[in-house]
Structures are given as structure tokens and as C-alpha cells.
């Protein structure tokens, strides 16, 4: 402990899968500390910001994005082998993100709907979180992640402690900052009670309902919230669309989306003629 400063600089890599790059941009958005971080850590792999490359090994590897193509599925296995600590960064890496909404739809149909030549497009049937492929040591949530939490992960690795990331509902941040509850006072549907905190309760502070971009909190009782929203006169599709957001593929939210008829615009799976028993397990 007394010799923290003498520790070697940790080798940090930042790589991406299917994503918008916004989470890795968050590192560059730590303007006040970027240079100090670069001194404290060796950013050995960060192709968005540096032409110097490294194939590993990494003390910490931050992975952005969902696993969406066969190459990515192979790459992530290789990356895991090279990383002491692997941190999935953001809603895509941790929950599949926005592109995971396609997982409800028939893959071929989606490809054909977007591409004139779907045969040239290679993607997996589902866009999935990194943790479905390899062991993940920590997850940073959010679309995008919170710069403070990213910093906390780096500090905790450097200092050698567990990151202090609170497991609690967005409501706690909302009430701490003194925002009037948009759901109770204005009837705006809000996923705050079932969503992990970390954003600072941003959307309610802008008089919007939370759309769950930090994903379900521990033991999220999404079913009860959905029931309440439905009892407030909403049609099933309108309940489903609330939960079918940037973390809609996460377990608790996915269950609600499924229970309320799936996300908007879904193209149902074609049932192959040879299939014995349908997808719903009828047999």
C-alpha cells in the first residue's frame, strides 16, 4: 500500500464490437484527467485515438459493443485470453444494446429489409452481450457509460480495490437531486424504479421518463412496474416499447417485452417447414 506510486503502469486496451463508439469516447471526454490517466496507465491499444497498436497482453481490457458477427465471436475469445481483467463497457457490451432489438426478429428477414444484397452481410443471428461469450470481470452500464464510473473502475484497478458502484434504482439519484417524480406527478412512464443508477437520473431531470439505458437493477421487479403502466390505460405494445430500449435484451426487461407482445416492428421468425415443434416449444 505504501508503495502504490511505484507500481508499474497498467496496460490498458480499449476495443470495440458493434457499437457507436460513444462509450470509448467517454474516456476522451474525461478532459480534466485524460493526460493524468495516460500517465498513470499505458493505453497500449486504443485504435480510435492512437495509431500505436498492441496485440496484448492487457492488464485491463475495456470492450465496447455487442458481439454481432462471427469474427467478433472469435475475437472476443482471443481477447479474453489476453486480458487479466475484462470490463464490458456500455449497454451494448453489457446487454447487447440497441442492435439486440433485432434478436426478436428473423435474422434473414431483417437483413433483407435493410440490404439489397443480404448475402454479402455477415452477422450472427443475435447481437449478444460480451458476458454470453466470455467471463466478464466487471460491467459498466449505460448508453453511454458514466464517465465517473469509468474513472472509478480505472482508479479501483490502480488502487487494488473493488469499484464503488452503487447497486440501486435510478430513483435514488433522482430523489437525491430533488427531482419531482415524473411518473407520479405527471403520469410519464418511467423505468427509473427498475433501472440501475449511474446516469444521475438524467431523464427525469429533463422531465422525461427513464428509458432504462443503464439496464435492470438487481432484482428489478419489472413485472410489477409493467403491470402498473398497463393498468394506467396503456395498450400492450406501448408497454412493450418502453422496455424494448437500449437494454431491452436484458433478462428482466426482455421478459416484459415478451409478455407484452414483443418490440415494435418485429419481423417474426419464419418457422422452417422441417421443424418438429415450433419455437414456443409446442411439440
Amino acid at each position: 500500500m505504501a508503495t502504490v506510486a511505484a507500481r508499474p503502469r497498467l496496460r490498458v486496451g480499449i476495443v470495440k464490437m458493434a457499437s457507436c463508439d460513444g462509450c470509448q469516447l467517454t474516456l476522451l471526454d474525461l478532459e480534466d484527467e485524460l493526460l493524468a490517466i495516460a500517465e498513470r496507465f499505458e493505453l497500449v491499444e486504443f485504435p480510435e485515438a492512437s495509431s500505436a497498436r498492441s496485440a496484448g497482453p492487457y492488464d485491463v481490457l475495456l470492450v465496447e459493443g455487442a458481439v454481432s458477427t462471427p469474427d467478433q465471436a472469435a475475437d472476443i475469445l482471443e481477447l479474453r485470453r489476453k486480458a487479466k481483467l475484462l470490463v464490458s463497457v456500455g449497454a451494448c457490451a453489457s446487454y447487447g444494446g440497441i442492435q439486440a432489438l433485432r434478436n426478436w426478429s428473423d435474422h434473414d428477414a431483417i437483413r433483407a429489409a435493410v440490404y439489397a444484397h443480404p448475402e454479402y452481410v455477415e452477422s450472427l443471428n443475435a447481437a449478444t452481450p460480451v458476458s454470453e461469450h466470455v467471463k466478464v470481470d466487471a460491467e459498466l452500464h449505460g448508453c453511454p457509460i458514466s464517465p465517473d464510473q469509468l474513472r472509478e473502475v480505472l482508479v479501483s484497478v490502480a488502487v487494488g480495490r473493488r469499484p464503488q458502484i452503487r447497486e440501486e434504482a435510478v430513483c435514488l439519484e433522482c430523489k437525491r437531486r430533488g427531482t419531482v417524480c415524473v411518473m407520479v406527478a405527471e403520469g410519464i412512464p418511467c423505468l427509473g424504479p427498475v433501472t440501475q443508477s449511474g446516469c444521475g437520473a438524467l431523464c427525469p431531470s429533463f422531465r422525461r421518463g427513464c428509458f432504462g439505458c443503464f439496464g435492470p437493477r438487481e432484482q428489478a421487479n419489472a413485472t410489477s412496474l409493467a403491470r402498473t403502466l398497463a393498468a394506467d390505460g396503456r395498450e400492450d405494445p406501448d408497454v412493450a416499447r418502453l422496455f424494448a430500449g437500449f437494454t431491452g435484451w436484458s433478462g428482466p426487461f426482455r421478459a416484459v417485452v415478451a409478455a407484452y407482445g414483443g418490440p415494435p416492428g418485429v419481423i417474426p421468425y419464419a418457422v422452417p417447414e422441417s421443424a418438429e415443434g415450433g419455437r414456443d416449444g409446442r411439440g
Partner: protein, 680 residues
Amino acid sequence: MVIDERLPYAPYPAPAGTAVAAPPAPIASGGGVGPWFLARANLGVLIDLLREDGRTVIGPAVVDGAVTLAEVRSVDELPAGVGDEQVPGRYRLVQRGDRRVFDFAVGPTSPKRWTFPPVVPLNVGRRDGRAVSFEPSPIDPPRLAFLGVRACELAALGIQDRVFLGGPYTDEDYHARRRNALVVAVNCTTAASTCFCTSMGTGPEARGGYDLVLTELDEGFVIRAGSPDGADLVARMPVRGADAGQMLRAAESVGKVAAMMGDPVPTAGLHDRLLAQFDSQHWSRIAERCLSCANCTMVCPTCFCSSVTQRSDLDGDVSTSERVWDFCFTAGFAKVAGGSFRSRPRDRYRQWLTHKFATWVDQFGTFGCVGCGRCIAWCPVGIDIRAELLSIAPPLGARPEPVRPKPVAATPGFYATARIVSVRPETADVTTLTIGDVDPAFLAGEFGQFAMVAVPAFPPVPISISRFGRDTIDLTIRAAGPATAAIIGLGPRDEIGVRGPLGTSWPIERAMGHDVVIVTGGIGLAPLRPLLDGIIARRDRFETVRLFYGARTPADQLYREELRAWAARGDVEVELIVDRGTPDWTGPVGVVTHLFDQATWDGEHALAFVCGPERMMEATVETLESRGLPPDRIFVTLERHMECGIGLCGHCQTGGLFVCRDGPVFALSQLGGIFGREGM
């Protein structure tokens, strides 16, 4: 109960129907004249006077669809003609079109936000080579005036006073904020459907705890003073004596509100009825709806739980600690190294509800609920505690013994710096640190007490004191997580922050003249070592002394040389057992109770001291009871998530007890149904 006399006015009387009756509060006469009448047009004078006195006025204002509390700079900002409709899970503003400014029921925010703010800085910890220091953050609260505080909120302030100022420890930050705030109360002339202050005995009429109180009439306000400060204000305001008609109308309008509410929550016997329902299936039914989102606790004007968070620089050399609102509904709140004590939402809801209406009474002599109804209106799924309380409808049950906490002065942000004298590895993951330069309070510490130990950038951890030396203490620490790993990674001459000694101790005097049975497992021997030291130092005062010690493997035994030395004395029976034998281990293998479940001694004249994992203690207690030891002669330690160490942060609450303050050592009889029950 001790209430600091520097408060500007007498404490609010305990709500009716609770266990401890507080004496009626003497309310200052306010110059002996009154009540007065303040014309509506002159209400602004009051706000201006308060501001002239250098106070920030916190009063009702319409913000984002609700009448909430905010800084009020002029009378125009008050919610004239605005009312509200509140039902479970729903709040809407209503425009009435009249000029009344206080004709609404309480909104989402209570004065708690200012008396117990969501975030309060505690200290800045620094490390410089081997040296560490903790600089407490200054306490410098603003001068406030609360305007429009309702009777239920006054009661809540009174309850907060008991929590933060009425026990053996006081929260200095709260104290300073409270002392700096002036209270202008308003009697309720309207109630929401969610209100039930009548049941809790707190309203709708303010009964003390204010500097001024207003009752709104169409043409103005009937006004009374409750303190010299209030009387002084009245003297500077354009008031005249209220006439009989005004006084009558004021009383009638408040009385009408009381009649409207009725008595939705019969509180007679509620404490016992609730405590009898720990195992009710009803908790599971509530948990199907409950989101564990903590909105009920956050809007509650009395909930006081908190956590400490750290933020450090990149090297962990400078870290800032803050106290933040936290609640029994969050996952990490009751977590210890082995997991959460309340992992199920049903347990969290039970913890909250039984605390509010039962165990709070044991702790503070009043209910923790004032009937403001906020938790009903602001619950996103509209759970109504009044209905839940009625559904549980329980028979009478037993009450735990009252608890006598032991006073030790301490403040959560304050860590004294001490220096490590020596480091001795005990096992692969347990190390004993001998600490010098400690706060002299430690040298008067008692066997079984613990210390909060901190290094910058890590959360502080509670550590039992495993030996009291002449001018040192020993801390035996297992690397259970990063913070403990960081502490035992320190070396001689490194400094650490310590706070304590805290908690209750083994009642060694009671054991004198008795047989002593000590049963322990794993690292549980550490807090018992001072007891053994103490017994051995005065060995002739005790009858037989038996130590039964279980460990995972022979290599996991603590203090092996001392164990041999104690055994060699001949007057202490030392029996060791391990869970897993190794080839070189010829001693017994099995659980610790195996050592005496076939032995011939009986426990009729014995006192037992037990420390270890809770499951092990349960088995031990069972065996001890079968040997004739009654629950009041069996002493156990509880482990809970402890953060503040002095019963103010709420993490370690179990039933009506704060484990850090009322324990960690308890007579089994004190614990009643708590011991060994899941989800406490």
C-alpha cells in the same frame, strides 16, 4: 432521553399511542399575548423579515408539477390558489383560483432535505508515504427559515431530533443544521386522501416544535409564537390581536380536516401485532408489487439511513468521503463479506415497515411514521401502507428486552491516526496488526468492542479488537475483500485511521464465580481473545474455563502458540477441532459442537460466550441450551454491515437493534426472534 438544550425550542412531544410518553412540551408564550392576526397582504413582510435576518427561506413553491419545497425569495413565489389531488401512486396539481397559499397537502419534499441533506461531506483522507491523515469536513450550515411546515413534519423533525440527538451519540452535522433553522409552521386546513396524521397522533394541528405557527383564513392568518425568536418576529410584524371569530374559524377549519381523515391506522398494540408477523406470507405478496425502489423511504420525513462513499485521486492518495442517503431497500445496504442479510425484496419491505411501526418504538420511544402519507402517494406502484398494515392484522406477540447502549463519543467523519507497530501473519489470509499511538479511548476499551478502521480510498471496515495492550491494541484481520486486503498489506510504521472503541462488550463481571464456556470458530476467536486475557489475568475469580475452537483446517487456526500456552496452564481446558482433517492432524475432526455434545459437564452454573459464523452459533446455542444454559447466560456476537459504528447510518439494523451500537455482543435473550431468522 437527552435533547440538546441548545435547540431553540422544546422537543416535539412523542406521538400519541407510542410506548414512551414524553412530557408535554412547554411552549414559550411568545411575549404572553396572542394569538395575532396577520392580513394576507402582509404575509410578504414575514418573508422579507426572515430574509433581512440573513435567512434563506425554504417554503412551498410549484416546481415541475408539484408543490415542493424550494428557496422562496418573495411572497409571489408561493403557490397561490394551487391545491393537489393525491391517491396512491399519483399526485396532480389542481388550480383553485383563490388566493390561499397554504391550501395543499404535503408534497414530495420535506425539511429533511435540509436538516439531513442527501449528500454531506465527511472528510478528506490523505496518504503521504507511510503517514495518513483524515481531515474532517467543516460543518457550516446555512441559516434557514422553513416556511409552511406542517404538523406531521414538525413531528418528523421531533423524531429526527430523537434519532440524531437523543441517543448516546449525536450527529453534529444535523445538530448544526437544526440549530441554524427557524421554523414557521402552518396548521393544515386541507388533507389529501393519503394523509393519516390523526392515526399517528401528529396533526393536523401543530402542537409545538415551532417558532411561529400560522392558520390560514381567507383574509389572512391567525398566528402564534412558539419560541422567543418567534415572538421577536411577531413584534416586528404588522399584526393585531386575532378576534374571536377568526380564532373560531381557524380552529374549525383544522378540526374539519381531522374529521375528514378519521383513524385509518389503529395504532393500539400495533408494535406487538407487527412483531408477531415476521413470518407472515403477506410479505411475499407485497413483494410481488414492491419495486424496492426506495421512493417511500426517500420521501419519508424520518428515514435516516445513509452510506459513506469515497472518491479518490488516481493513485488513491487523496480521497473524499461523503455521507449519502441510502436505504434498506437497496441491495448493498445489508451486505457483509458473505452476502446480504436481506437479499429478498420481501425482507427489505418487512424491515422497513416493521421498523417504522414497531422496532422504531424500541429504539426511540416513538413510531417512525408521522402519517404524512408521502410514501403512499409517491410509490410508483401505489402501495398503501395503511392497507398493508390492516391486512397483516396480527395477534399479540412478545417484545424483545430493552437495550442499553454504551456511550462512547465518536463522529462518523472523524478518524484518528494511529501507527502500526508490528505485523504478524496468523494464517494464509489472516494477519494481526499491533497498533500504537491510538486514541486513549481505546486503552479504556472493553473486551469484545470493535474499531472502524480506514485507509484512504477504501471504505472503512469494522474490526474487532483482538487484544488490549498497555498502550497498543491488536487487530486481527482476514483478507475478506479489497479494503481488508489493503489494511493487512500495510507494514510497520504505516499509519491507518481508527475510530472507536465501539459497540458492546463481553460481560466478564457476570461470569465471575461461574463456569465459563467459550465456543468459537474461525476468526471468531479474535474478539474473544481479550476476554480470555481478562479471565486468565484474574483466573481465581472464575470456576472452570473451557475453550472450544473450531477452524476450517489446522492451518487456519489463529494464535496457535497462545492456544498451546493456555492449554499448558492446566486451568483452562482448550479443545480444538477442524472441519477438514489433514494427514498430520490427529485431533478431532467435525464441527465445534462435536467437542462437547457428548461431554459430561453441565451448563447449570455456566456462562457461555460464542462468536463465529451465525450458522455455527445457531448450532452451538442449540447444544448449549440442551446442556442447561438459559438464553440470558449465552452471549453471542452478530455480524452485520456496519458503516458508521454508532447507530446512525442504519445499515446494521436488525429488528429493533443497531448491531454496531447495541451490539455486537448480545445476550441471546435480547435477540428474541432475530437470532437465526432469515432476512433480518
